[in-house]
Symmetry: C2
Subunit: 248 residues, 2 copies
């Protein structure tokens, strides 16, 4: 008897966005350079990394119930302000007024996809419902989809589902609104933490190796369950996922 | 000085779906015929109208706070059951078992667009954010978008915003999630009731004349504010709306 396909019965693919669908680090670094031609010597790659780190910390706190904004624009702005107050970046504080800080915060709306992203999503959309399941806010995800040509069937965001991953409201809320049991949904992410949470609530899991996400060791060691690993499927690109789904 | 364009500043178009984007009456009539070749003499057009009437009544009650399902699949099924229990359609009750009733309920997921719908939405998507603002549930709207090729940027539904139109949670909830003040959103609908509610919460209003919605008299007498009417814009098709937006 043939083995059951690891994504048998999956009707919806729920995508983590930052890092999985779009290259946040490369995009923020590039956009910060474009926005700040007067500051040619700043290490925007480092700046992007610290900004992102603050975001991880704050969303994790809020997901655990500490309270705080579920709109990522507001959160990105708070973290930007704290970077400018307390850290090696404080020399930028006097250069950036209110208007400039708002402008800088919106770089997170202009993130570009990985090379396989747009073509892959158009193909996947023929095979399943494709949805964001992101801590980003709805407007940010809509702007990004227009900017990077991401043809989502539906957008699930922190401010639509009222929390942040890894809170169960996110994973189970998306499944419920798609009228699907969790096992008919697969989480697609470049981060094992996200996939572990998804699996704990009954979703299938698809790990995508992305060059700037997780460590090189984690990426190379990631295995599917058949190979003794913890996720249902491991891929290097969305194109590879299209092929795997075609074999169902 | 030139008059201000009636849609000046509008960044998002929020679409009523049933009747405005899709021809629910024609589609349900056709799908019911296809599903029931053994019942060639039923008046499915009449059946569709009564089913829809029950939906109007129930959603209006729930929007006022009476309690009840905010998932339209559940609601459509309840109304179907009551049609089969109490009305001229009760001869169908014994013919349709549980499985058949579920199948029949899903005809509302397979509604086709008006002739101008798909092309018009693809053009409008270049000019603004295009979103549903429908009492339909999210899954129904996603299925319908795939079936009829409706390229929504984002889906707002009864089960996402937690109520039904004309409750303010719907209009203001959509604007909030798009990070827009109400006046930068325009409601697009073939129903004046919907547009009156939208206007009362500060949204701009676009009336679309559709052959089976409102009465012939209401359609022919609808005027924009410049012409002494109550809505911001009146159009016969989405293509006409594209042209009007191009003149901004």
């Amino acid at each position: 008897m043939a083995d059951e396909h690891p994504l048998q019965g999956v009707e919806a693919l729920l995508f983590d966005v930052f890092g999985t669908v779009v290259d946040w680090r490369g995009s923020v670094t590039k956009e910060m350079g474009l926005l700040n031609p007067d500051l040619p010597n700043e290490d925007w790659d480092q700046f992007a990394g610290e900004w992102r780190e603050g975001y991880y910390t704050r969303t994790a706190q809020i997901a655990q119930g500490t309270g705080g904004p579920t709109n990522v624009d507001v959160l990105h702005r708070e973290i930007l302000d704290s970077l400018l107050e307390e850290t090696r970046w404080k020399h930028l504080a006097e250069k950036w007024n209110e208007e400039k800080r708002q402008e800088v915060t919106l770089v997170w709306h202009r993130l570009g996809g990985w090379p396989d992203t747009t073509k892959g999503l158009y193909e996947l959309k023929k095979q399943a419902i494709i949805a964001t399941l992101s801590n980003g806010n709805a407007r940010l995800l809509v702007d990004m989809a227009k900017f990077a040509d991401l043809p989502w069937d539906i957008v699930f965001s922190g401010d639509i589902l009222g929390s942040y991953k890894p809170n169960p409201k996110m994973y189970l809320g998306a499944a419920e609104r798609l009228s699907l049991p969790p096992e008919k949904c697969a989480m697609v992410a470049a981060h094992l933490r996200d996939l572990r949470a998804a699996a704990s609530f009954g979703l299938k899991t698809i790990f995508v190796r992305r060059p700037t996400e997780e460590t090189a060791e984690t990426r190379s060691q990631a295995k599917d369950k058949k190979g003794g690993g913890e996720v249902d499927v491991v891929v290097d690109s969305f194109n590879e996922l299209v092929e795997i789904l075609n074999r169902r």
